[in-house]
């Protein structure tokens, strides 16, 4: 508990208040409120269709919510409502301060350019114009995500799922974001690759003091990565708390079912 509190800062980085999203008359998520601080990993768990991804998309600026506000501590403008910002400012803030790791690497990578160019892109988007320096930074980051640098100039289509996901992680961390969104980052991977990638992510998140909002339906991922958990069901948050507390002593009936239905070998 002491280690946790020293790593996490006291002022909030992200404030979500009363977030609601309707798709016509169908509910995406309803009245979600939470704060995140720098260095904190927030896990969102729940079954398919419970509104996890809707929440993630709303918070990450991809999907304007029907009601509620999302405020973020931006580098340029300080604490501001992300949907009240002008579009160029919001896009710039997303490039500078955020990262987004998709479940399917094909959604997060440019498949027509090499892995190295994919990792270097955020630097160029932020004004990097020196090839040699960007190349070196790319190689450093590929080593950091334990990627074979000999294959830096291959296309992502020629990489395995685990390698693609490593490229995606490097691409989303190279520019030093404050907050990274992860949508099932280990979703489509086999368990041994999953375990190695999780280990790596955990290490990077701790080293870089990143705030991470991670959506997953895998309780093991939640246990390993998250400091805090939010359990969602039918678009509503039914339980929140420290990860160990929620998983070891679930209060809500749905959380109890969720925790007890994890397969044991």
């Amino acid at each position: 508990m002491n280690a946790l509190s020293s790593r996490i800062e006291s002022t909030p980085l992200l404030k979500v208040d009363g977030l609601t999203k309707w798709y016509g008359h169908i509910l995406g998520c309803r009245d979600v409120s939470f704060d995140m601080r720098a260095g904190e990993v927030l896990g969102i768990v729940g079954e398919s269709g419970s509104g996890k991804t809707t929440l993630l998309n709303c918070v990450s600026g991809k999907l304007p919510p029907s009601a509620g506000s999302i405020q973020f501590e931006t580098s340029r403008f300080g604490m501001s409502d992300i949907y009240a910002m002008s579009e160029p400012d919001r896009r710039r803030m997303q490039r500078e301060d955020w990262g987004f790791v998709h479940q399917n690497p094909r959604d997060g990578l440019r498949m027509r350019v090499s892995g190295g160019a994919n990792v270097a892109e955020p630097m160029m988007s932020l004004g990097g114009r020196h090839y040699g320096k960007m190349r070196q930074a790319t190689i450093d980051w590929l080593e950091r995500v334990e990627f074979d640098t000999g294959r830096i100039d291959d296309r992502p289509a020629n990489f395995s799922g685990g390698m693609q996901q490593r490229i995606q992680v490097a691409r989303n961390l190279i520019h030093g974001p404050k907050l990274v969104f992860m949508d099932e980052p280990t979703g489509g991977l086999d368990v041994s690759v999953q375990a190695r990638l999780l280990d790596l992510l955990r290490e990077l998140v701790r080293d870089l003091r990143l705030a991470v909002m991670i959506v997953t339906h895998d309780m093991a991922v939640a246990r390993l990565m998250a400091d805090r958990l939010m359990v969602m069901k039918s678009g509503q948050v039914v339980e929140t708390g420290l990860t160990d507390q929620v998983l070891d002593d679930p209060q809500h009936p749905y959380t109890q079912i969720l925790v007890s239905s994890v397969l044991q070998i």
Binding site: V113, A117, M124, S125, G128, R129, Y131
Partner: protein, 306 residues
């Protein structure tokens, strides 16, 4: 059907002078004016069906049709040559529908239409260079969504274009500018200069002449007005450079022109000749000789092109 010439130009013919009707030409002129007012910005326009297939220069033909008048002198080149099929037929087209005088001489022409080359001879004030563009959007290869590329132009988010350059440097070790190397116009709009070779990119900047670029299939017109800053993109440690050749032109000995490689037989023999056929012929007339002067290729060019 009889071919109409300047002599029987009845006033009513001027309704669809130069093939297009007046309303269409006016629409295209408006787009041209807007393009000139915002250098490098792609102006959408209502591209018409032309009597040639897309990809054969429909954008350039519509631009020429909108600006041409009976007093103009028209030159059309494909690659650098005046005598290739596409160039000859477009030139004949305008001779027929616009009663315009045609020429192969760069300095005589007031309108020069081209796809791949800008003539070697520097263009002067009063000349208009019309370029045919297959793909006006330089970011299209990396970003397939039009909505997204429009936003990127609007907000000047051009980092993505450098990804393409990064890729080239990673693969071949240099910027390796081939054709259609992207340029920044007045440090505001990113522009694809049609598939002209990078060799011709520097000619776009601070030119005396007007450059008009038209994409018929993609329905976009854009322009570089005279005396505009045009910068070819590059990296700090990999500066932009144009192509150079170890050889000189085999026919006229030019050492500063854009050269085409011509394969002569199946034994590996080849020669390099100026891609700008008129420039080469003019130099030969002025007495310049290259190592293979008098080759039959030089004879072929003397035949009338039309």
């Amino acid at each position: 059907m009889s071919v109409q010439t300047g002599s029987n130009n009845a006033p009513e013919r001027y309704y669809n002078y130069a093939y297009l009707d007046e309303q269409t030409k006016r629409m295209i002129r408006r787009a041209i004016l807007k393009a000139l007012a915002i250098p490098g910005y792609q102006v959408p326009f209502g591209s018409r069906e032309m009597p040639v297939p897309y990809g054969w220069g429909t954008g350039g033909i519509q631009l020429t049709a909108a600006i041409v008048g009976p007093d103009d002198v028209y030159k059309c080149i494909d690659q650098g040559a005046d005598d290739t099929t596409n160039a000859v037929s477009i030139r004949q087209f305008f001779a027929k529908v616009a009663d315009v005088e045609t020429t192969e001489d760069t300095s005589e022409a007031t309108i020069i239409q081209s796809r791949h080359r800008v003539p070697e001879k520097p263009l002067k004030a009063g000349q208009v260079m019309v370029l045919q563009v297959p793909q006006p959007e330089p970011l299209r290869f990396l970003e397939p969504r039009e909505t997204e590329t429009r936003a990127m132009h609007a907000y000047e988010e051009y980092g993505l274009q450098y990804v393409a350059l990064y890729e080239r440097v990673a693969r071949v070790g240099r910027i390796n500018a081939g054709a259609g190397h992207p340029v920044m116009v007045e440090e505001r709009y990113l522009m694809s200069p049609s598939p002209i070779p990078a060799f011709d990119n520097p000619k776009l900047g601070f030119s005396e002449a007007i450059y008009l670029l038209g994409a018929g299939r993609e329905k976009r017109i854009y322009a570089v007005p005279p005396y505009t800053r045009v910068r070819s993109l590059d990296f700090e440690d990999h500066p932009f450079a144009v192509q150079t050749w170890d050889e000189n032109c085999a026919l006229c000995g030019a050492d500063d022109a854009y050269l085409d490689e011509v394969v002569l037989d199946d034994q590996g023999a080849k020669m390099y000749v100026c891609s700008d056929s008129h420039h080469c012929a003019e130099r030969r007339e002025a007495g310049h000789v290259g190592p293979m002067a008098g080759h039959q290729l030089a004879q072929a060019e003397k035949e009338p092109a039309q």
